[in-house]
Amino acid sequence: MKRLKDFASGIYIGLIGLFLYAPILVLIILSFNKSRSRVKWGGFTFDWYVKLFANKQIKEALITTVILALASAAIAVLIGVPGALGIHAMSKRRYKVMMAFTNIPMLNADIVTGIALMLWFVHFIPLGFGSVLLAHITFNIPYVILSVMPRIQQMNISVYEATRDLGAGPVYGFFKVLLPEMMPGIISGFFMAFTMSMDDFVITYFTKGAGVNTLSTMIYGQIRKGIKPEMYALSTLIFLAVSAILLISNGISAARKAPKQNDEERI
């Protein structure tokens, strides 16, 4: 009976795994396709990986995407962490109001958020990199707050107060006591924000200006005439890089057998 159950479990996980990875396999295979057309196999080649590094447009889009993700996640942390500390100190009623507003960008459809921001931006700033950055920060802050908040709630504020009573300044107390306690939440919030920004298409699509392209908007523009094979190559590289990072960090954490569940596992 147990053997049967083991077997069934394995099969099921395998099937779901196949479902999850089949399209990715297709894309990886396409990155080695000699033919420019995605529907024709022209033989095996590494050319697109070589050409990728010479392709200025893709490089620009990649840089825009990464800088956008890093900057928006970092600014979201800078605004979101004090924000969460502040909200936590509020009265129950005001706390609820603030958390409701925090939930709006998360619950709202991307298309509505994107359009609302675009309609608002056209009144006071030119659409460009700046408008996209503002939009990304806007949808990133809630992720930071929602991952830091549980940490703050578990935190023992009295330790912080004790250091203050012992004469430590608020800044010292913040860095020595509060920050280390919040760190796992901040890190997972930062990565959430980073991931969300990297993966966003809809909000960027509506708020971007002429000449600004992220990888997603660039790919969307290429759908009609056929995706550039270099794009498959780049996506494969990103995918493999992320897999490697996650695998290594998982390997290390497994080796250490951390007593409590690791936080980056929850990312």
């Binding site: 033919s35 057309s37 995605r38 529907v39 024709k40 200025k56 447009q57 490089k59 990649l62 840089i63 990464v66 800088i67 890093l70 675009m118 931006f121 056209v122 030119p126 659409l127 760190m183 796992p184 890190i187 930062f190 990565f191 980073f194 200006g209 002429a210 000449g211 523009g221 290429q222 759908i223 009609r224 005439k225 056929g226 990072i245 960090s249 290390i252 954490s253 690791n262 936080d263 980056e264």
Partner: protein, 355 residues
């Protein structure tokens, strides 16, 4: 936790590296003396040419893309982005000229304007009287791309799209004017009809056809026919050429009832503050090497006689690359319809798509 820190460090290091790369690629460039904001169809210009232009002139190009004339017009008229130059098709050009959206092209500043054949300026005069505003860029026809191995007899009429023989194997254009054009021509009407009854008749025909249509696509229809997912597609001549390159069984035909011959042109908008720069860009596009690079990037028919002369014989005789006089004699240029007719067509198109 330390692992997470490491991850952050790795990522930050990677990001710094990329930023440094960006700085380096930024160096050694000519000083930027001005900017032009440009909107064009997607993948309709070799991006390396934009860099070449900036290198030669010091004018930076902010490049934006649109899929259809309607999308271009919406982006333009919303005013969210101020465009200096637009590239779009005949009927949209005509509308925007009528609305006073364009500035006259300073032809005297354009050294290479005569690289564009006289014949194409004459065509352009059909929607741009006196050739004041439009610089022809690419042109072509609309026809049927089909798989010769999967049809029972040679295709020469729009009839194959409507007679039910290839139900589920047909791809139509996901563009209002083009799809209505097919039905209007099949019914024997002008593609520029202003008779609402004729347009309604075309709608009824298209509605009846919808259940037999596999998909309404734009340029990606080419790949679908190449892959054998569909037997035939209504498609622009340029895409047909590439389709044949990928799959030798494919053929392109302009049906005997006639079709649409289209022209995509560049124009300078009234927002443009520096027409000298704009003219430089247009002149650049007419230059033989640039036009040839764009031609090789897109493979649509070019009006640049210098480029055509440089082609080898086989390509010059290829109907989908260089349509002959004979092939286009039944074809009409698409013109802007009166507002009420456009509104009616818009309405019927939305209905057709939602049925």
């Amino acid at each position: 936790m330390s692992i997470s820190r490491k991850m952050i460090k790795t990522l930050l290091a990677a990001a710094c590296l990329m930023a440094v790369c960006a700085l380096f690629t930024g160096c050694g460039k000519k000083k930027i003396i001005g900017e032009l904001t440009v909107i064009n169809y997607g993948e309709y210009l070799d991006p390396d040419m934009l860099d070449l232009f900036t290198e030669e002139t010091g004018i930076k190009i902010n490049y934006e893309e649109a899929l259809t004339p309607e999308e271009m017009y919406t982006k333009y008229s919303s005013g969210a982005i101020k465009y200096d130059l637009v590239c779009t098709s005949d009927y949209m050009m005509q509308k925007m000229i009528k609305d006073g959206e364009f500035l006259q092209i300073p032809w005297d500043q354009m050294e290479y304007k005569d690289n564009i054949g006289k014949k194409y300026y004459e065509y352009a005069a059909m929607f741009d009287e006196g050739n004041k505003y439009c610089l022809p860029y690419f042109w072509g026809t609309l026809g049927i791309l089909y798989n010769t191995k999967k049809v029972s007899k040679p295709v020469d009429s729009w009839d194959v799209l409507f007679n039910g023989e290839y139900s589920g194997e047909i791809i139509m254009q996901n563009s209002m004017r083009d799809t209505f054009m097919v039905a209007l021509k099949y019914l024997g009407y002008s593609i520029n009809t202003t008779n609402p009854d004729e347009i309604r008749a075309a709608y009824d025909l298209l509605l009846k056809q919808k259940s037999q249509v596999q998909a309404y696509l734009v340029d990606e229809a080419r790949d679908e026919v190449v892959a054998g997912n569909a037997v035939m597609a209504v498609i622009y001549s340029g895409e047909a050429y590439l389709g044949h390159e990928y799959n030798n069984d494919l053929a392109y035909v302009i049906p005997k009832e006639g079709s649409n011959v289209w022209f995509d042109c560049w124009a300078i908008t009234k927002n443009c503050e520096n027409t000298e720069f704009a003219a430089k860009f247009l002149d650049f596009l007419c230059r033989e090497d640039v036009a040839a690079a764009n031609f090789e990037y897109i493979y649509y028919s070019t009006p640049n006689t210098k480029v055509i002369e440089g082609l080898d014989e086989e390509d010059r005789e290829n109907e989908s690359l260089v349509p002959s006089e004979d092939a286009t004699k039944n074809c009409e240029v698409c013109l802007q319809a009166p507002d009420d007719i456009t509104a009616l067509m818009n309405d019927l198109w939305k209905k057709l798509k939602s049925e």
